[in-house]
Symmetry: C2
Subunit: 336 residues, 2 copies
DNA sequence: TTGTATGCGTTATCAA
DNA sequence: TTGATAACGCATACAA
């Protein structure tokens, strides 16, 4: 059973009125008689009318979809952000087109191009760990496509961003460990090209300094976030003569890999070495010992970023860019 | 710096040829001189031409996006499926619009309507646990919108589906437990409205029967997949005089909640009670003891579903529906 | 308050 | 091999 889509024309024909009248009625414009409006509404419902969004977009030069680019959809942090975005977008009649960069700059460029071709109204992006140039993003401005960074941002870019205060959160996490009595606190960092990593490292260093703590440059290691590298870092720590008694990891994934590898080496946690993470993913509650971590409001982050982007879409070039800094909270569990 | 989009017209004007010629050149149609084709291609690249997909879709009545509806984006199983879909879609020049039903039928209906309004070329869907009617899906056929089920399917629907053999996988999982020497094997099921739950239950029952095992109806419980309910089910098992010595759970989430609650009650796993799950999520490797589970090829499932949908989009009403049954594998770990 | 006419950027049909 | 022109479905300026 074939059935063509019902159009404004069909409704107009049936009611013997003009297409423009139908359009006005359905767009809820003021210049229309209440009676005809009701009539049109009724007919539209009866005939199962669905507006053709392509025609609408073609005409108005604005679409009802926004694009998202995340490094890895399977990481809970990002799927939770997306979940938040999805909610606000749906509430506002927008759709989400989702892309993954797989941590590759090349792929990220391609994603942006695809979204651009799809004429999205705006873009939400969290950078890949390879992203060291921003031309593919900044050219969006020339095309009048607003975009908002979240979590992994271009610090020097003039765009709106939604972040946590990485430096401060990391400072507080480190301070928490210091107050717990740990003396040799290591920092297992991620790719320093990412602002979140760079800033968390700074927060860690500032905390140590302001509490006049021991410090060894060997305690600062950089993992590429893979399990192998993290394990290798742990092995390195264990081989040190001045072994750390606590490890602050760049995120929960790395922290959990730490715990697993430490346990494999029969290190007791937290008695011999404590471990702390970043993000408060569901896995943090599952690993044993349960992971002490800095909670990042991922769902909220997604919502905030989406809300802001929608505003920028609605007020083109009227809005100065803005940085939203969300609060974090230390969740104390058994790994410290 | 404002910049309007470059259109076919702009290229035509610059080269002093007709719009239709430009269109033909860029569409790689045969009826065109090689020379002009090259000329147009060059100009298009130089002028940074991006086709307007809205106009294209409006004209051709087909869009390059497909929709996905999942119950919960934050569950790793689903985000992994989506990751697979994303890959094949991207390779084929399609975009993904993603919706969450949040396990609500009402929301699922709304999602379908939204996707329909967006004129997606097709839909990939895994049902909510509330979905007991399929009118909102079957009406898609009248609108010529193909859709493919994955994982949580309508068994009686005549659509293509991508599934695992739930009955057989569950039979084998149960048999595995039997061969391990467990005598009192319980089955902690999910909402039986879902075919996956119903069929896994059948597989479990068949396995017990064909091995002439003990069986108590009290051993079959139904969780709504929430942590509280699962804990309550465990409490119920522990209160039984004929206590189970192994629990086969409907999925990893439930299995992990089982383990956590059993440990809270100082039950040793697997010595006193063994636990087994379904899915092989990352958390299965993190929980202690590591969870024995049935691996479901989620990424592959997403790819297979997407590939099939694309075929159905390309050959409207030419294809008979097809069921893809993917293989599972028991991953033996320490919880059994 | 309503109708007429035009154009958004494509593709497709027909002549040339 | 190319060009002129008509649609696709909608919104909107303008006329009535």
């Amino acid at each position: 059973m074939k059935r063509e889509h019902v159009t404004l024309k069909d409704i107009a024909k049936k009611l013997n009125i003009a297409v423009s009248t139908v359009s006005r009625a359905l767009s809820d414009l003021p210049t229309i008689k209440d009676e005809t409006k009701k009539m049109v509404m009724l007919a539209a419902k009866e005939m199962d009318y669905h507006p053709n969004l392509f025609a609408k977009s073609l005409k108005t030069k604005s679409s009802n979809t926004i694009g998202v680019v995340v490094p890895d959809l399977e990481l809970h942090f990002f799927s939770s952000c997306i979940s938040g975005m999805q909610k606000t977008c749906l509430e506002n009649g927008y759709n989400l087109i989702i892309c993954q960069s797989n941590e590759s700059l090349e792929q990220e460029k391609f994603n942006i191009k695809t979204l651009q071709d799809s004429r999205v109204g705006g873009i939400l992006i969290s950078l890949s760990r390879e992203t060291n140039s921003f031309e593919h993003l900044n050219q969006l401005k020339e095309h009048q496509i607003p975009f908002v960074y979240f979590d992994r941002v271009d610090e020097n870019g003039s765009n709106s961003k939604v972040v946590i205060n990485d430096e401060e959160s990391s400072f507080e996490a480190t301070q928490y460990l210091i107050r717990k009595g740990y003396k040799n606190i290591a920092f297992l960092c991620g790719p320093k090209i990412l602002s979140i990593c760079k800033n968390r490292l700074i927060g860690y260093q500032n905390a140590l300094r302001s509490h006049q703590m021991n410090f060894e440059s060997d305690w600062i290691l950089e993992s590429d976030l893979s399990r192998q590298t993290t394990s290798a870092c742990i092995d390195f720590y264990l081989g040190l003569k001045n072994q750390p008694d606590a490890i602050l990891a760049i995120n929960d994934t790395v922290a959990i890999d730490c715990i697993r590898h430490l346990k494999k080496n029969n290190i007791e946690i937290p008695r011999q070495i404590a471990v702390m993470g970043f993000s408060n993913s569901p896995a943090a509650e599952i690993i044993e010992p349960n992971l002490t971590t800095v909670e990042q409001p991922s769902f909220d982050m997604g919502q905030t970023a989406a809300k802001r982007l929608l505003e920028e879409i609605r007020h083109p070039d009227a809005l100065p860019s803005k940085v939203f800094t969300l609060n974090t909270k230390i969740i104390e569990r058994d790994s410290t």
